[in-house]
């Protein structure tokens, strides 16, 4: 770890100004930044502590939306009755993330900006091997070596990493928006548009390995807005090797509106299969109007999974992702 300057702004305006300075990095809960500092993933000159900014941990209802301040912790969201009532999938996703201790510190603003758990990426400096995220241009060892837990969608030869967040997958399935602020002012984006799969970064002319989001360096997440969907039922399912304190092999967030036995609308996002939450758009388009059955759902989800491009070690994830999605959809309906 290398020395850095530390600043704690009193208000958002001051925070925005400090964050915009070159070499600045934001700290809130600190659960992820500390890892980066220790591993040498980042070496900031200034750390801007926004963790105590006022009024940014709110959770509430506003004009048909559930609103979340960026500093709300995963446990606060997970245990909040309003979240449980209107966005069950998000509460479940928060409580299945990390460990109780981490969830008490980790904020919903920082959580979506955590980086991949790929072991090649997470090695301590000096970097002992290639990694296009850590040392651009060196290559991606996971592409052909240890890739059991890597992407089945959206990857390129440059990088096959997945995004590990749980809450992000739920927010994507809920069609939430993320609110950003910078010296240029505020803007709002769909959460699903915040992150880039490697193929998408490449398509717009960016480095597929390092361009992981559309955030500008001077931008800061201030909160989220989740549209309330009348009668919607939702569920989050996380599959991992051990039952707590483990990143997922695959997750699924499902939000379903039913009309009797018939699916009225459905949104499903898979997690840990790509560098962003992966919406199952074919299933979302084809299922409404159909009577609900596990077979119908499986068939529709399979159609999306037919597009998967597994790597040498993760063919199992295609099947796992399908089954996880089907289970999450059925669990949402039964909730």
């Amino acid at each position: 770890m290398h020395p850095f300057a530390y600043a704690r702004p009193h208000d958002e305006a001051q925070a925005v100004a400090l964050v915009a300075e070159p070499g600045s990095t934001i700290i809130a809960g600190g659960t992820e930044l500390l890892n980066w500092l220790r591993l040498g993933i980042t070496r900031p000159d200034n750390i801007i502590d926004i963790g105590r900014l006022p009024d940014r941990a709110n959770i509430g209802l506003e004009d048909g939306f559930l609103t979340l301040g960026a500093l709300a912790t995963l446990n606060q969201i997970g245990e909040h009755p309003t979240v449980g009532e209107h966005a069950r999938v998000l509460g479940q996703a928060c409580l299945l993330a990390a460990s109780a201790q981490v969830r008490n510190r980790a904020t919903i603003g920082g959580n979506v900006l955590q980086r991949t758990r790929c072991a090649y990426f997470r090695a301590a400096e000096p970097l002992p091997w290639a990694c296009n995220k850590r040392a651009p241009g060196t290559g991606c060892p996971a592409r052909h070596a240890m890739n059991d837990e890597h992407a089945i969608f959206g990857w390129t030869d440059d990088c096959v990493a997945v995004h590990p967040s749980d809450p992000l997958v739920a927010l994507a399935a809920l069609d939430a928006d993320v609110d950003l602020v910078s010296p240029e002012g505020a803007r709002r984006l769909p959460v699903g548009k915040l992150h880039l799969a490697q193929q998408e970064a490449k398509a717009i002319g960016h480095d597929p390995a390092t361009q992981e989001t559309v955030l500008r360096h001077d931008e800061m997440i201030t909160g989220y807005r989740v549209p309330l969907l009348p009668g919607a039922r939702s569920a989050y399912l996380k599959v991992r090797e051990r039952q707590s304190y483990a990143y997922a092999l695959a997750t699924a967030a499902a939000v379903v509106q039913m009309d009797g036995d018939t699916i009225q609308s459905i949104r499903v996002a898979l997690g840990s299969v790509a560098q962003r939450p992966w919406r199952l758009l074919r299933a979302e388009t084809s299922l409404p109007g159909n009577r609900l059955s596990a077979d119908t759902v499986r068939e529709a989800v399979q159609w999306d999974l037919d597009e998967a491009r597994p790597l040498s070690g993760n063919a199992y994830k295609v099947r796992l992702a399908r089954n996880t999605a089907v289970r999450a959809i059925m669990a949402a309906v039964e909730s």
Partner: protein
Amino acid sequence: MTAPTEGRAIGAPRPRIEGPLKVTGAARYSADNAPPDALHATLVGAPVCQGRIVDVDASAALAVEGVVRILTWHDLPTFGPVPPWQAAVLNLPMQSDRIQHEGEPVAIVLATDIQAAEQARTMVTVRCAPTPPVLPGQGRRNLITASEEVDESGLVEGERGAPFRIGDVDAALASSAVRVSETWIQPSRHHNFIETSGTVARWDGDLLTVWDSAQASFIVPNVIAAALQLDPGNIRVIAPHVGGGFGGKGWVWPHQILAAAAARIVDRPVKLHLGRADQYTSTGFQPLLDQFLELGATEDGRLTALRHQVSNITSMTEVYVEAATEVKDLYACPAIDVSQSVEPVTVNLPTPMRTTNEGCGLWPLESAMNELAHRLGVDPIEIRLRNHADREPTTGRAWSTKHLREAYEEGARLFGWYSRPRGGRSEGNWRIGTGMASSTMGQIRFPGNATVVLQRDGDVVVRVDIQDIGTGLQTLLAQVAAEELGTSVEAVRVEWGDSDLPSTGPMYAGSGTVANTSAVALACRDIRKQLGEHSDTDDVLDALRQTDLPQITGDGRYELPNRVPMDMYGGDSGYAIRSFGAVFAEVAVDPELGIMRMRRMVGVYDCGRVMNARTARSQMIGSLVWAWGKSALERSELDPTTARWMSKNLSSVHIPVNADISDLITIAFIDEPDPYASVTGARAMGEIGATGADAAIAEAVFDAIGVRFRELPITPKRILDALAEMGR
């Protein structure tokens, strides 16, 4: 089954006497010691898995504020030869430009604070001329041939991995009615203890004080003294608590020598505490094991042949044999042929780990017994009873005591084995299956020494240089002293963890219980004997008060038969000595998601007299937790390009968490004393619970979903891939 007798000290479920120290944070571990003026050390590890150092550029690192010195191999003295079976690594690092494995120390950063030492170590540039890696499967397997002699240190495990043969296995297999012939694999695994290893070294003239984390502190002076060419009598080791050892702190590792050497070079105390990532390459691990095992049997399931060929990886420059063939004495069998080989690859040196030997060997043997039972349609318990070894098969010796039959019976009763549904059942999305296996652990014994002081005020002090490796041994010693002297356990104070105390054996595989409960009992009897010369009362305190002595001191020396420095499996006692058990598992598998869950487990163990019902139970629960980790989670993977351990942290290297462990774990003991194993009737328990349990769990998975896994761990990927291959 006998319950601890009311009012008796031995066997009672006493809480640990060091418990309050630990839960209040008052227990001092090695890294809690920082002598004034101490420098903090960090190690710069070799960036490649083998080759030569071209040069080490420390200029940028030396510019970091607080950095005092950076040592390379040019700065270190030439070490003297270190004793095998005490020093883990014989080819010590930092003696030349040679790199023997990734992470091997190539430089030591010394700084006034740990932050500077950590920062600077990332700024040391090591330029190397690398040699390509040799990965598992690419090395040459070398057969272990000669049996090694017990040397005067007494720590050589005599027959470790030596080939053994009786009968004609080829002929027996050829004529057997049934044959199981398969290969079982288990991955490399690290100890992953909470307290990483660390050493604080301080010189006062020629005297060296070492605060250490060690399972056998008495060997630390021998190794450091040999390396630095000193008198071991000039070295004091303070090592009371060990925050997890599991074998990984059993021998002396290079960092312990380097800390002392660095402190001498800079003439200041040095604190060298390994970081979490350092731990994966600075001490050992349990090696990847490939085991071919064949059983031949008659139509009614009686074994006619056992062939067991074990291969484990080792480092390029040294041999570690994981003696998995030591399970050859579990079943009666007329023809046995076992052999071991090692495959040198470019990794650090492996070492014993929870559970060594039988913990590794029972994975194939008990799996094969279950396959044999299934093939013949015989109950898994029944097939084990039909092959019960009434005497030790390889020697014909009688067992000291053996209650394995009772363990099967009691385990079956507690589990409800005979009323279980066969072939699994469904519960929602889950398939539920059951399995069982035998457990066994050979006895490795060492002599023990203890002093017991009875004071006039009734207080008793037990003095012995044991280490607290978390098993609760100090409490056992207090219980033994209380029972022998007829005092209360509360009146006994135990002093431990300092080489100024009477030196005793190591804390290996439960051997500390055998040696030290015996030595304490003998020391108490020495007190009684001395007092008997003065008085005829049975009450030791009354007897003492009848003298004018302020206190009386008893010495206890526990000797092995023929006064050997170490013995195995009974040695010259005339009997075969071994602990036994039976383990039962109920497991749930979700075939769509590939996940599995521990539903419940039962373990019944025959480990001689139980010294403390509470710590014994805890030890066995912990062992089953490890077994679950081995079965479902744990593996340390090597990157195929660099031969570097992939992940070096507890976030990505999974060991079980509480949520993985069912609260339906039932532990029971046969609790019959073994008069030949120790003075107190105790036998080593060690981590016997982690032997055989993997095979029971894998059998339960087979029962649930019909897939035989012969490679651990049984992960979601493996379950889903196996089911896909079967078209399910």
